[in-house]
């Protein structure tokens, strides 16, 4: 029993509780608590990473029903996601503090914000499917108030759509977990042997459960027919979108599918029984479909949302390719996509907050007005397209290699096509930003006083720049021992070479 994983969870949970109780007016104290909790969490996560590097897996377990435990366990895969979330939480928090300055309901917002990250950490550290389910549902609950935060009828509608999808997904997941439990009994992530036995006894039933779980998780991962909530949820404030797309919700779905394939059913079993092929196909289709839809959007955030639909499926594509390289590509894209997408959303938020820009056609010439933000945006967009040496390139490279390794060269075609589509929907935007003439007046201009270097306020600008830099660094220094790639390699090595 090790309390460290619990402590990671509790930092943000306690922060949430304290913030709920704080009076609305205590802005400074609230910001302080937020930042302190984020930093503390980051430190704790680093401790955990150290432990995992030394092949020590801290575990916390608490029996919540007879024979059924809540298990928090830090393994390599968990730390990949936990590291990403805790890092990005820090930046998102900073960004949100700036973004919501002078907005009402901050107590509620930041409380649920912290709760949301607490659930994400729980998802990351979950040591078995039940724990995963608990935090997965908690995530739904804590994001709903963020989605409807603005309280307009439109956002309430979006919240309803979000709930319908995620709760239905949650019910399917619950059903799957319950069925699995009835078949196999409790299993911690990684104990694939017991399941393999059960699989050979009832292959049909177990495959059914696999797809049930896949659909349940796929709702949050926004795979093709289940993605509709994601673009609607765009009405939420920008930090929330960043959280949904890069840090928490979508990633939780993708992460769950990784857990499902690797640690519940086991990649070899899944591959042998042909469970992966449907996943590959859906992922491939979703990649193309998302990109295609992104192309048609005129709202910046909507375009980014469909881009997310497409990009998250890269992760799924990677893990559905049997073989270490494909897995590596998928895993590392989990991180890279997070970094790049968070940058893009920050930038979209900056545009909206500083100049009131929401639509793509309003971006004309904004590069001259907000050069730093626009630079960050460019970096993120190019990364998404997969231009070396930005992070996105690394992921796509390994995905391609993985496809060849798995003997599915057609996947390469999908990758190329989607890259072209990516370019098609990002490059015109970049052209507008840098090469068009600025309009006479911006839709809505914020006051000059708070600007940093004629751009946005420092709270907004700094996180954007840092994440942009990080996504560049992740690509540039991919070979370094501390890079996301190395960590993903570590996981893959431990997975494929036990």
């Amino acid at each position: 029993m090790n309390l460290l994983p619990l402590a990671v969870l509790m930092t943000s949970f306690t922060a949430a509780m304290v913030i709920f109780l704080l009076p609305e007016a205590r802005h400074r104290l609230r910001s302080l608590i937020n930042i302190a909790a984020a930093c503390l969490k980051l430190v704790l996560v680093i401790f955990l990473i150290q432990a995992v590097l030394q092949q020590d897996y801290p575990e916390f377990s608490w029996e919540i029903l007879p024979g059924l435990s809540l298990v928090l366990r830090a393994d390599a895969l968990a730390m990949l996601f936990a590291g990403l979330s805790s890092l990005l939480w820090l930046f998102t928090t900073l960004y949100a503090i700036g973004y919501l300055e002078n907005a009402p309901n901050r107590s509620r917002f930041f409380g649920f914000f912290s709760l949301c990250v607490a659930s994400t950490m729980g998802i990351a550290l979950a040591g078995n499917l039940l724990t995963f389910l608990i935090f997965y549902e908690l995530l739904t609950l804590s994001t709903y108030p963020l989605v409807v935060h603005r309280g307009t009828p439109e956002s309430l509608r979006a919240g309803r759509t979000y709930l319908i999808y995620t709760l239905a997904g949650g019910v399917l997941l619950l059903l799957g977990v319950a069925l699995l439990y009835a078949e196999v009994g409790e299993l911690n992530f990684g104990d694939t042997a017991a399941l393999a036995e059960a699989f050979h006894a009832h292959p049909g039933r177990m495959s059914g459960i696999f797809f049930l779980l896949l659909v349940g998780l796929g709702v949050k991962a926004a795979i093709f027919p289940l993605h509709a909530w994601l673009p609607t949820a765009m009405v939420a404030p920008a930090p929330v979108s960043a959280l949904l797309h890069a840090v928490a919700v979508v990633k939780a779905g993708a992460f769950g599918i990784i857990r499902l394939v690797y640690d519940v059913y086991g990649i070899e079993l899944s591959a042998q029984q042909g469970l992966l092929l449907p996943l590959t196909l859906i992922a491939a289709f979703t990649i193309l479909y998302g990109s295609w839809r992104a192309l048609q959007q005129i709202d910046i955030k909507k375009r980014l949302a469909f881009s997310t639909v497409s990009q998250v499926s890269y992760i799924l594509l990677g893990i559905s390719l049997f073989g270490p390289l494909g897995t590596l590509g998928g895993l590392v894209h989990l991180l890279h996509q997070g970094l790049m997408k968070v940058t893009l959303f920050f930038c979209a938020g900056n545009y909206a907050e500083t100049l009131g820009i929401h639509k793509i056609h309003e971006l004309n010439g904004v590069g001259q007005r907000m050069p730093l933000t626009s630079a960050a945006f460019t970096l993120g967009a190019l990364g998404m397209i997969g231009l070396p040496p930005i992070a996105g390139f690394i992921s796509k490279w390994y995905l391609g290699l993985g496809a060849l390794q798995a003997g599915m060269p057609w996947v390469l075609g999908v990758l190329i096509a989607s890259s072209l589509l990516n370019a098609a929907y990002f490059l015109p935007v970049l052209k507008r930003i840098w090469f068009s003439d600025p309009p006479a007046a911006w839709p809505q201009q914020a006051s000059e006083s708070k600007r940093l270097w004629r751009d946005s306020s420092p709270w907004l600008l700094l996180p954007t720049l840092v994440t942009a830099t990080l996504s560049l660094a992740a690509g540039l220094f991919a070979a370094a021992s501390w890079s996301p790639l190395s960590w993903a390699e570590l996981i893959v090595i431990r997975e494929y070479l036990p």
């Binding site: 709920f20 029996e63 029903l65 107590s107 409807v148 603005r150 307009t152 309430l156």
Partner: protein, 486 residues
């Protein structure tokens, strides 16, 4: 001191408190109520801690023993329910202290204490006729509480409730008469020993079940419940929804299992399950249609009772593991619903106090001004929806497992759809609180005590999800029920 010596005080003290509060002036009433609340909470806690783990306790009133005298029985189940009652009634009592107007309090307290005494009596009763008297005591106290203050709508609800409760009691009594005529005893232990199946026994059990179903407000006999529970004063609503309807269910399930009905009537059990499904869907649908907050919560009670009905078919399974899981899940469901519903009613009462009106549309913007209330309401809602981590989830999980093991997959669908429906009507409430309005409405502010009571109950229903092994261990302590379950 053993738990046996402590036992009678759980009955004497509330009864004495009822007399005292009927006699004393207001100030003294409040203080004595507070003291007795504390002593009750303490007594039930000690009782639970001192429960022997090897055998149930029997307490012969008047030292006469079973067939002639009345015996109280304290097994794990009863102890757990005593504790639940103490917890919820204490908090509702504290709530009432600051919620009720001083002019309402003299009417409230004697009834409150009789209610509590009746509940304790029912959990402990080991005698069929004694249960009847207990049920009447409970019903009349509940009706009196509903009608408190004598406003037209409350009197109307109380009358409906009273007639339903009286009819239910008589159905029960008729069944008891037949059982006595067939077996010559009223003691439950003895009855279980000499019980023989026949037309008289069958009719008797049917009547008893029907009577208790009416008192519990099982679908389709639920029509009295929403006006009574929604119309009453807030602490009363909480007591009613959390505890009162549970008492008749408790009796029904105990009789069902201890007289070995699960093996005898598979069809009836399936029929009851079907009614449960009906309750879930109809109650949920009606809750979706309501425009008043407390009505939503009251219809949610109707719906949630459906889960309790599902226990009956789940118990009738050939696998003893499945029945065990079903009973554990069922009791846990009861417990978590009690906590969550009490918390939710109290939170709803606070919200209505803030908004000044009871319509859902009046809640717009409240989530900003009273986040703690909304939070309490939300916690309770999580448990009611059965989302993890909460007592409701744990209970639902056990029931799902039971259904899976016994191969009754159709109930799985019902359980899952029911939780989706409950999510639908509960989130509907939330979406109203998030709506931002342009005109700045003046909101009232309930006292901290009121908010804390609601929050505590709601939080407890969530914590139950983490500490479920404790109550489950109590439920599993040896006793007539667990023995009959096998």
């Amino acid at each position: 001191m053993s738990s046996l010596a402590l036992l009678p005080w759980l009955l004497i003290l509330p009864l004495a408190a009822a007399c005292l509060t009927g006699l004393l002036p207001l100030r003294a009433t409040q203080i004595s109520s507070l003291l007795v609340i504390l002593s009750q909470a303490l007594a039930s806690l000690l009782l639970l801690l001192w429960m022997p783990s090897d055998e149930p306790l029997f307490y012969s009133l008047g030292s006469w023993g079973a067939p002639l005298g009345i015996v109280l029985r304290l097994d794990g189940l009863a102890a757990a329910f005593l504790m639940m009652t103490s917890l919820i009634a204490s908090l509702c009592g504290l709530y009432a202290l600051s919620y009720l107007r001083p002019s309402q309090q003299p009417g409230f307290w004697p009834l409150f204490w009789f209610l509590w005494a009746a509940l304790n009596g029912i959990w402990l009763a080991g005698d069929l006729f004694n249960l009847y008297v207990g049920l009447e005591l409970l019903s009349l106290a509940a009706v009196g509480l509903v009608a408190l203050g004598g406003e037209a709508s409350r009197v109307k609800a109380a009358l409906r409730y009273l007639f339903a409760a009286l009819l239910g009691s008589l159905g029960y009594l008729l069944g008891v008469s037949l059982l006595y005529g067939a077996h010559g005893t009223l003691d439950l232990e003895l009855l279980a020993e000499v019980f023989h199946w026949g037309p008289l026994s069958a009719l008797a059990l049917a009547l008893i079940l029907a009577g208790l179903a009416l008192k519990t407000a099982f679908f389709p006999l639920h029509t009295w419940l929403p006006p009574a529970h929604a119309g009453a004063l807030t602490p009363v609503s909480a007591l009613l929804s959390a505890l009162v309807i549970k008492a008749s269910f408790y009796i029904a399930l105990r009789l069902w299992v201890e007289l070995e009905m699960p093996e005898r009537s598979l069809e009836v059990a399936q029929l009851l399950g079907l009614l449960g499904a009906g309750a879930l869907f109809w109650g949920g649908w009606m809750a979706l249609q309501q425009v008043k907050l407390k009505q939503v919560v009251a219809y949610s009670t109707v719906a949630q009772l459906g889960y309790l009905l599902l226990i009956f078919p789940l118990l009738s399974s050939s696998s003893s593991e499945a029945s065990h899981l079903a009973s554990q899940g069922g009791w846990l469901m009861l417990l978590s619903h009690a906590l969550a519903k009490a918390g939710m009613f109290l939170a709803a009462g606070n919200l209505i106090l803030c908004a000044g009106r009871s319509e859902l549309s009046a809640l717009a913007g409240l989530s900003r001004y009273r986040p703690m209330n909304i939070f309490a309401f939300g916690l309770a809602a999580v448990s009611l929806m059965g989302l993890p981590p909460s007592g409701g989830f744990s209970a639902k999980w056990l029931m799902l497992q039971s259904a899976l093991i016994s191969g009754q997959w159709w109930w799985i669908l019902v359980i899952l759809l029911g939780s989706l429906l409950s999510a639908a009507y509960l989130f509907r409430v939330f979406s109203h609180t998030y709506l931002e309005t342009q005109d700045s409405v003046q909101f009232g502010q309930p006292s901290l005590m009121l908010e804390l009571c609601a929050l505590t109950l709601a939080a407890l229903s969530i914590l139950l999800g983490f500490f479920a092994p404790w109550p489950l261990a109590w439920f599993a302590l040896p006793g007539p029920f667990t023995e009959a379950l096998g």
